[in-house]
Symmetry: C2
Subunit: 355 residues, 2 copies
């Protein structure tokens, strides 16, 4: 599996989810100065790698205007703080939002090294440009900056937020560990439950943590923090399911990745594992195709076999189910639809229910 | 260069530095339960990798009694707290001591991956046993645990300590970045000043940070914190200089590494760079030897050439000079020799002035 890449898509989105677009742009505008300041504090070579990774510089150090991602996680922090504590809480949570974005990018730098992924946000990944060591070290530095930023915050919730973000890092690492271990296993040794758990750890955990941090900064009680965490997790899993569908059947111009790359790499993404474990005749056919040596010309046939084995339908139904659960959790913590609107718009944005 | 490996040496030390031995054993006894508890909180596979790395388990998960290092950094945290704040301050600093040890081990896990080092503390390195991805992820998890442990501490100095430890991580990464970049450069393109700066970042920074954290936990003023940081840095540089000497001329049974491994890998360690930049006839001879393909039988000749170019004498004189500076900084912050005794004993221990 590859982590959700929805944020790497084409910046030009339809107008249906205007609210999400505004929230994302506002989050990016508020968080970017904090990110640029802390990254500007890094020693020269590490700063250069980080600035390249964020899309602010080309490999030669000249300024770039590439996308540094959609700021979904920072927007979730700020929207959660706003939903539970209004504009005052939202204003206190900008550093926490930047910390979450730093953690996200630290894990991207490391995951790209481990997964040997060569493209991220339509550009060569940092390790392909600077080498493995530099990419690992830049990731380590962003990790330290993230926890430093939060720990230095004067907000009374900061210590709890650091603990939660550090726990989330451990969960992200555990998810990536299972993911890389699963890559080395035969397709028939992988269950759908463990693939879902892994996806929750790799993608759901940080979206949940983002929402939980926003709630903490709004001085919410434990039940509301837990509900917002669950909201983010379920939305994150929906996000990953849709992303895996796009990774097989999506338009490479929108995903920023070659068509069928996940299948070419024989990744055990959620639709693939659902198909493999479906007990259908197409499942056996798929297992044989996945066991065969990589052959570019087979990618369309593999995609069709995943679909015939029910992998695509399962993933779309699961995504809808996860989104419904996310909505339930959100309604529990934020019963006022007006206050919940921002989080709802962001969840719909990431799962593209409006497109 | 390779980071200081003194801690990997034979556990049986002469009795001359009894005070240091007692301080190290006491630090290990106090910090280990904290380390075992936080590492015990990790999810299964990450816990197993961490427990292997610390020498608590064999690769198959059965209990081991291998050394997990000498606890020099935790002992420095505790000794610094004690020197400036007595037993009460020392008692509050145990978590900070554990956090420093976690950071140290996180960087060892990552550095071993980048440097392709295969032996650590007389055992195969984690990446050789579990693979690169697992070693990187276990390192990331220890990093998160370290900052979490400190951030959750109720001590009023905890936020300042987190900031300092995170800054130190950035410096460690910057030092390792320069080190790996230098490996790819021609020997005549490397200056002694930048090699010393790199060694200070890679080894001095964390020993300085350990002492500074102890001072912070003793509620010391900024000048004393800075002096203890400088004490640790200078002692750390002395430590690295001596370690580099041992890396060339040391007994492999004591170092836990094959004889001449640093030379075989053409590492630009401090004595080597001093020799290469000495302007002597032996310097040119050494440059030619270092440019030639690796040949095991040449290692003795290379070692002799480094010595003839003055690399060994320079390193030993530098180490003595750095130790003198360390003593000055220590006397500034802790004028009472009785109170300073623990830190002094530890500094002498790491630089082996008593052996």
């Amino acid at each position: 599996m590859t982590e959700a890449t929805t944020e790497t898509e084409d910046e030009h989105r339809p107008a249906e989810n205007h609210e999400a677009t505004v929230l994302l742009e506002r989050a990016r505008a508020e968080v970017d100065p904090v990110l640029r300041a802390v990254i500007g504090s890094l020693p020269g070579p590490l700063r250069r790698i980080a600035r390249y990774h964020f899309g602010w510089e080309h490999a030669d150090g000249t300024p770039a205007t590439g996308g540094s991602g959609k700021a979904i996680r920072p927007a979730l922090v700020l929207a959660a703080a706003s939903a539970l504590g209004g504009p005052a809480a939202r204003a206190t949570a900008v550093r926490a939002a930047a910390a979450v974005e730093l953690v996200h990018n630290f894990t991207l730098l490391h995951d790209d090294v481990m997964d040997r992924d060569t493209t991220r946000r339509h550009r060569p990944t940092a390790w392909t440009v600077f080498g493995d060591a530099d990419a690992i070290l830049a990731g380590d530095a962003l990790h330290a900056l993230a926890l430093r930023l939060l720990a230095q915050d004067a907000h009374p919730s900061a210590p709890a937020a650091v603990a939660r973000l550090a726990d989330c890092v451990v969960e992200l690492c555990a998810g990536q560990q299972v993911d890389t271990a699963m890559e080395g296993r035969a397709p028939d040794e992988v269950t759908l439950d463990e693939t879902l758990s892994m996806a929750e750890a790799k993608t759901g955990a940080l979206l949940g943590c983002a929402c939980a941090l926003g709630a903490l900064y709004a001085d919410a009680g434990a039940a509301d923090v837990a509900a917002l965490d669950a909201f983010g997790r379920e939305a994150g899993l929906a996000f990953q399911l849709i992303d895996d569908v796009i990774g097989i059947w999506g338009d490479p111009h929108r995903t920023g990745k070659p068509a069928g790359a996940d299948l070419a790499a024989r990744k055990k993404s959620l639709p693939v594992v659902a198909a493999l474990t479906s007990g259908t005749p197409a499942a056996s056919e798929l297992a044989a195709l996945y066991a065969a040596p990589h052959a570019e010309e087979d990618l369309e046939r593999i995609a069709l076999t995943v679909e015939r084995a029910g992998g695509r339908d399962w993933a779309q139904a699961q995504a809808a189910d996860r989104m419904a659960r996310a909505m339930q959790e959100l309604a529990r913590a934020v019963p006022d639809p007006e206050a919940a609107g921002g989080l709802l718009a962001l969840a719909e944005f990431v799962t593209r229910r409006t497109t």
